[in-house]
Symmetry: D3
Subunit: 158 residues, 6 copies
Amino acid sequence: MRIAVCPGSFDPATNGHIDIIERSALLFDRVIVAVSNNLSKQPMFSIEERMALLSKACEDIPNVEVDSFSGLLIDFAKQKKATAIIKGLRAVSDFEYELQMALMNRKLQPDIETVFMMTNSKYSYLSSSLVKEVARLGGCIKGLVPEPIEEEILKRLR
Amino acid sequence: MRIAVCPGSFDPATNGHIDIIERSALLFDRVIVAVSNNLSKQPMFSIEERMALLSKACEDIPNVEVDSFSGLLIDFAKQKKATAIIKGLRAVSDFEYELQMALMNRKLQPDIETVFMMTNSKYSYLSSSLVKEVARLGGCIKGLVPEPIEEEILKRLR
Amino acid sequence: MRIAVCPGSFDPATNGHIDIIERSALLFDRVIVAVSNNLSKQPMFSIEERMALLSKACEDIPNVEVDSFSGLLIDFAKQKKATAIIKGLRAVSDFEYELQMALMNRKLQPDIETVFMMTNSKYSYLSSSLVKEVARLGGCIKGLVPEPIEEEILKRLR
Amino acid sequence: MRIAVCPGSFDPATNGHIDIIERSALLFDRVIVAVSNNLSKQPMFSIEERMALLSKACEDIPNVEVDSFSGLLIDFAKQKKATAIIKGLRAVSDFEYELQMALMNRKLQPDIETVFMMTNSKYSYLSSSLVKEVARLGGCIKGLVPEPIEEEILKRLR
Amino acid sequence: MRIAVCPGSFDPATNGHIDIIERSALLFDRVIVAVSNNLSKQPMFSIEERMALLSKACEDIPNVEVDSFSGLLIDFAKQKKATAIIKGLRAVSDFEYELQMALMNRKLQPDIETVFMMTNSKYSYLSSSLVKEVARLGGCIKGLVPEPIEEEILKRLR
Amino acid sequence: MRIAVCPGSFDPATNGHIDIIERSALLFDRVIVAVSNNLSKQPMFSIEERMALLSKACEDIPNVEVDSFSGLLIDFAKQKKATAIIKGLRAVSDFEYELQMALMNRKLQPDIETVFMMTNSKYSYLSSSLVKEVARLGGCIKGLVPEPIEEEILKRLR
């Protein structure tokens, strides 16, 4: 059985994230979406809320489960016996940062591979922070995030 | 009549900004320089000061006016009946960020176009924050910003 | 009256090209689509055929006309009294090449501006040469080029 | 069973290619290395020779086989019932070109995914054409290609 | 005698930094490693500690000395009668930022040249902040920084 | 004595090339401008002509001499006892290609360093091939190449 870890802050998950998770689920037997417990950023949603929103958004994909991690991603991946780490790519700057992280992770754990998948081009401009900024300034975020997440964002900002 | 909005933080305007505004004024009937009231950054100049400095720097260009906005740029542009948003481009990372914003703005308002213009290559290394850093550390900023803005920066730092 | 020149090889025009031409027509009073007579490449369509296909594809946009040029683009633009040259941007390498050409054109003729517009992200992977390659290898090109151009390509390859 | 296609010209295969093939073999049940029969380039090795050299270089990886294709890669992948196309990434320009091809392939066949893997950083500068150029000019190519391929290249150039 | 300044935050120095310093020492008669006293970041090591760690790491390179600066780098370089500023390059985003700084420095002081050297590809993913993050999260940093620096980082984090 | 090799096709040398050569001459005791005898391109000027034009353009820089090479650059550099290879950088794609070549050269000869210098931003769009293309199409190339080279190009095209 091949297991992949799909990590991120997911604060909150966008349709771009969901798109990558769905594609990953076709390539691996089991996909563990791993929410990073990164304390350095002030999140809009707590880690439990982010996990709950992701679980709901992925509930129809049978081989996907949601988890969280707080140490090194590569240690989490090893503990979960993952074969691969999956990252979505949008733009060149994404690629360079992801390349840096993937090379560091390879140094730390050579037998876990990082694989990159392309975000759907219709989501190429999406990021969690841009979605939150648009919502904060009163813009419409319909179609950018799953519907229940849209509702939660709007509730927070009221 | 075709109206364009030229947005930015302009904290303060550099000669690179003025160069783009001057070129824009040849392409559109009316150019509205729109100072962003972005509270997340601690500015050197208040929004009123930034507007006053820009107005002075552009006083010889008849079809340019200076305004400010605090919500979504695209809502401001719509309210002003703008046909286009104008952005100056310097480097690749500029381009990617601007592409992301332009795609988001197109999603939010498909009938307002973002057009990109090249900064003069002699200003290709200029940014407001670099100018402020150089001035703070005692470097000469002559030729990087309009003269009245140079004086104001030096006054602040004394 | 502001005139813009929208240059290219258009061998043949793709839906990405048509998208940029349509957007340009909203920003300028008159848009001259300028087919480059670049002899160094072996084209699939003659310059007359490329012009005819473009004219058909743009026949519903009243302020667009199709022309050709064989010398320097900037000389053609000047002769047509153009205010601007319009280029569509897709990727970073596009941007760098276009920046180089725009800076050279500014040196040759400082009063004609190059403006860049974003290709629709759904056409971000399109190029004339990729379309021809896909068609040559038997792939479906529906939706990538205007319908009459699709038919012409298939006719050539039979 | 998940099958992946790993395409390329492989004229000849470098250690960077072999590295990607080895990693792919850990992620998929079966990896089909697909040599492109691209007639537009004048190859150093015939398609049969390239396949034979690759077969020898991969003979110790049980789930890898070598094949060739002459039409669209995506048609070959479909015919082989592949789940994924695997591409190695080295640099930013690689990434952009590969992104373009991946988006076109997704348009042609939405249910076959392109996944990207990082070339080992010690091979980040390698390409078949650079290896051939170095060998032609008398440079040492030991460590850049598998040993039997090194011998074949030197034999050709004598 | 040709003097070069090799600036950085060095919080702390990595093996990538030491690699660039060693290479620089072969190109110039005297290399001054210049630790930036940039107060805007909260450093892990004080400027004196960073200088001491660097001095130890470079003690075997006879023509290298360690110093610090707090104003403009270019003023420090001028005061030291430097011919050149040396910067290591890793990735494209590095290059763009460094190009911007180099152009600004050339404007401020046209007779001091910025020269760029390639970081060893085996250190291409290294940065001081990534090393600190890995160490904080319990990852092994052996081989990423000189041994005495590794010990100091671990001591701090205990 | 530190010797640097500054390689290129120089078909013909542009003001951007001369700018880099002049700067190099301040950093090294002796600079050998090395004209590549690359037979795969059809040059406008023979190797002897290119050397003569360069010699004339550099005649006022005492520590610069002009030579040619036909094998591997790194072998030429070694034979000349060079410490460094100097390359001018303009754009990101330049950087990636040059990085690839530099890494290959380091593999072939680890003790010769490649150093990169920034082209003056006023020449950032210049290349030999663009200059030739502009001249062929009747554009003015004054200020893009040294005056005697301008005359030679125009003579060829008459």
